[in-house]
Amino acid sequence: MKLKSHFHLIREFTINNFKLKYKNSSVAYLWSILTPLLMLATLYIVFSIIMKLDVPHYQLFLLIGIIFWNFLSEATTTSMNSLLAHGNIIKKMNFPNYVVVVSSCLSSFITLLLNLLIFFLFTLIFNVKLTAIAIILPFYLIELFILVLGISFFLSAFYPKFRELSHIWTFLLLIGFWVTPIIYRETMVPEKYLKYYMLNPLARLINEARDILIYHYTPVLKQILITLIICVLIFALGFLFFRKKSPYFAEEL
């Protein structure tokens, strides 16, 4: 099969994933918007009102973190399962397996984009103006996508043989939520751990996105490059691992 037809496949799978997720009902889509909003409300109440965390534009600050985090956790969990879910096809047809993982990440990515629309609505409501620098956002989103895809490749290739992974991953996600600056600023992390802390690519991406969208900082090129390198590295490792394992999926499933 040519690469062009891979593209058709990815598109077809993504559309179908998305359709199946909401089963053509708008109410279901409403839920996917409501989840981050409810999460936002809860976290906002707990950390801003009860714990009195002092962060400017805390609602927007939280929302970016939640949106990015939700994308990561949803995309990785669904794509980890995607090979199993499409086992019927993988076992019975000869077709590029990676398409399945890419498309399930992509359909989560669509949710991310829709959630970002909510975010922009919020910026209007809370009167935070967007500046020209926000134009880099798509670049960050692509970085985020590559990062998530890399993790997903690794997880999905590992999962058919090692089913305990799903439990481990839920656990890791739970930890990940707290070691990523979603509800707090990374500046609250003690100085001596900060160097290691900032190796977390998601933390970097969330930070960078907040900087350009809410606080209007001009990003530093060196930092952007470091993030990019980390994301591409994870992606490459995940993809290579996946490619090595992919001939055996049909019998492992």
Binding site: M1, K2, K4, S5, H8, L9, R11, E12, F13, N16, K19, L20, K23, N88, I89, I90, K91, K92, M93, N94, F95, P247, Y248, A250, E251
Partner: protein, 668 residues
């Protein structure tokens, strides 16, 4: 050009034995071991084997879905695998959406499919349902959708794994036609099926897999034969028992279905029991599918068994005919016993089959059953076995007569019934009077003849006697029928009268037969001194080899070897061909054909050749005679001593003759 080449290909899986013990937990299991074969472009390969023999694994390896553990696989061209129904489809999407999805799996873009979607839907014949969700489709409908979509890919190589067997008959036919069509277009096909009929219609080569190894490969018939020999080498009785069990299971389930339907109808009146109805309906549907599956597997097994019996019978027939030639009476007896048992088992199988099929099928099977019994009875003509078979035949007919309501069919059946009873009574008589039947093919009775006036007279008397005896037979038969009627109506007086009359007639007949036998003996004694003898008669095929089995349209030659002790002037060679029921089909002789023979002396051979045998399926008897030019009293005659068999070929026809004719239709 080789399109598919496998060289020493093996595939092993790691089998998990016991989850609890860590030692020896895994074991390497070879699903395929050292498979080597190659397939040229345009060839069709049938893959046969029992479940778990590695057929699907082989297809998956060819398709590239699985990677071989060792060895190489070389495939050139665009492969389209049909490994399992519904692979790549989404039950929650509509048929139309699934066409796009499946098309994308085949590497087509949305636009390309949009261009072709009308023809896809048309070929699938699912126009009405195309916008319904796939989960509402039946298995056959899903198959149609997949198959029609896959055909736009224009694949070079098709891998088909038993999927065609799903779907209704018209779809199967269309798919088969499509496959044959594709084959004639030069596509290569690998076809897995349990049904030998399907394999035979599609493939020209086959391999037989057993435990992952190639057990036989090459030409179709040979492979199928070894398959049957290895797979069905079991006690037939145990197989029949399992058949019986399955049938009982089906019947039980069908009863249950009825019960469920009843309770559904009952609860339907109760509006508040919707949930209950739903669950009931669900179990009903599930049961229905399971019954269908059971029936399907049964009929598949049945077809295979039938096929096996038929091929076995054919091979036995061939062995028998060669045994006849060698005149090895021990071997003949042995083979005949085998044949008898085979036929008995075959009949058992057919009778079992009638228990779980619909009416049209039942009629078909009854028909084949009748043909079979006919065959059996004619083959064992003149032995006790014939009577057994005829009695069975009678019972079958009785049942059928009871069941049919159509008057015309009933009359036909009654006619058949009468002839059977005639034959039984005839046989009974023969057995009583110890007269040996002459039609046993290998039991050659050579009668000689002396040309005398007395002889002519005696012959005439015998003919008259025969006629009278036949009349009496008919009378007896009619009386017996009457007797039966009286038995049913319980008219005792008339019954007694009938009985008396029958006894009278029988006594009369006995006298006549005694007389006839006496006369025949005289003729027989006289014949012994004849100068001309027929020493052997053989049937030859196209290449002048002896055979007893022909197909319609074959070249057919009768070779008569004679021995004339003295010089005999103007002899006439005559031949009579009869159907097994006695119908005289043809009686050519050299005199009628103006073929003049001046004289014969010493040993010689005469040939009678039909370029294209116009006879259809059945057993035929042959009489050969040599007689003088001016008289029908023969020097030597072998009356119905020789048999040959005509078996089916591609010509589908009914009756006795194959008549080469043309149809034409003119329409305005």
């Amino acid at each position: 050009m080789e399109v598919i080449t496998l060289k020493n290909t093996s595939k092993s899986f790691r089998l998990e034995h016991d989850e609890n013990s860590l030692k020896n937990r895994f074991e390497n299991f070879y699903a395929l071991k050292n498979i080597s074969f190659s397939l040229k472009k345009g060839e069709a390969l049938g893959v046969i084997g029992e479940n778990g023999s590695g057929k699907t694994t082989l297809l998956k390896i060819i398709a590239g879905i699985l990677k071989p553990t060792s060895g190489t696989v070389n495939v050139k061209g665009n492969i389209m695998p049909f490994i399992e129904l519904g692979a790549g489809l989404q039950p929650e999407l509509t048929g139309r959406e699934n066409i796009f999805l499946y098309g994308a799996l085949l590497g087509f873009s949305r636009i390309e499919i949009e261009r072709k979607i009308d023809s896809i839907i048309e070929f699938s014949g699912l126009k009405k349902f195309i916008d319904a969700k796939l989960r509402t489709y039946s298995a056959g409908m899903q198959m149609r959708l997949v198959f029609s979509t896959a055909m736009i890919n224009n694949p070079d190589i098709l891998l088909i794994d038993e999927v065609i067997s799903v779907g209704d008959e018209s779809f199967q036919k269309r798919s088969f036609n499509k496959i044959k069509n594709l084959k004639s277009q030069g596509k290569t096909i690998v076809f897995v099926s349990h049904s030998m009929e399907q394999i035979k219609t599609v493939c020209d080569k086959a391999i037989f897999l057993k435990d992952g190894k190639i057990k036989a490969s090459g030409l179709l018939d040979g492979v199928i034969h070894t398959y049957f020999e290895t797979v069905y080498k079991r006690d037939n009785n145990s197989v029949f028992n399992s058949f019986d069990k399955k049938i009982k299971e089906i019947l039980r389930r069908e009863k249950e279905q009825k019960r469920i339907l009843d309770s559904i109808n009952k609860t339907q009146k109760d509006i508040f029991n919707r949930f209950k109805i739903k669950t009931l309906k669900k179990t009903f549907e599930k049961n229905e599918v399971e019954i269908d599956e059971l029936k399907f597997s049964l009929s598949d097994l049945f077809e295979n068994y039938k096929y096996m019996f038929e091929s076995n019978l054919n091979s036995i027939d061939q062995k028998l005919s060669s045994a006849y030639d060698k005149n090895d009476s021990k071997l003949i007896k042995k083979l005949e016993n085998i044949k008898y048992e085979l036929l008995e088992d075959f009949k058992k199988l057919l009778i079992l089959r009638t228990k779980f099929c619909d009416k049209t099928e039942k009629n078909k099977i009854n028909h084949t059953l009748k043909i079979l019994m006919h065959d059996q009875s004619s083959f064992f003509k003149g032995t006790k076995r014939e009577i057994n078979v005829l009695n069975e035949f009678k019972e079958l007919l009785e049942k059928e007569i009871k069941q049919t309501k159509n008057q015309k069919i009933k009359e036909k059946l009654l006619e058949e019934f009468e002839t059977i009873i005639m034959r039984i009574s005839l046989l009974d008589k023969e057995n009583k009077y110890g007269k040996k039947k002459t039609t046993r093919s290998f039991r050659r009775r050579i009668l000689d003849n002396k040309q005398t006036l007395d002889n002519e007279k005696l012959e005439g008397i015998i003919l008259v006697l025969r006629r009278v005896i036949l009349d009496i037979n008919e009378n007896i038969f009619n009386l017996q029928l009457k007797k039966k009627n009286y038995l049913i109506t319980k008219n005792k007086k008339k019954l007694l009268e009938c009985k008396k009359e029958i006894i009278k007639l029988k006594q009369k007949r006995k006298k006549l037969i005694d007389e006839m036998n006496k006369k025949q003996k005289i003729i027989g004694v006289q014949r012994k001194n004849s100068n001309v003898k027929i020493s052997s008669v053989r049937f030859l095929d196209l290449s002048s080899n002896e055979t007893k089995i022909f197909r319609p349209g074959n070249k057919f030659t009768i070779e008569i070897t004679y021995n004339s002790l003295k010089k005999v002037k103007n002899p006439v060679f005559g031949i009579g061909i009869f159907k097994e029921d006695g119908t005289h089909i043809t009686g050519p002789n050299t005199k009628f054909h103006n073929f003049k023979i001046n004289f014969i002396k010493g040993k010689g051979k005469a040939y009678y050749t039909i370029d294209s045998l116009p006879l259809l399926e059945g057993h035929y008897l042959v009489t050969v005679a040599i007689h003088p030019y001016n008289s029908f009293i023969p020097y030597d005659v072998h009356t119905k001593l020789y048999t040959f068999k005509v078996i089916k070929n591609h010509i589908e026809d009914f009756g006795t003759f194959y008549i080469n004719a043309k149809w034409k239709i003119e329409q305005n």
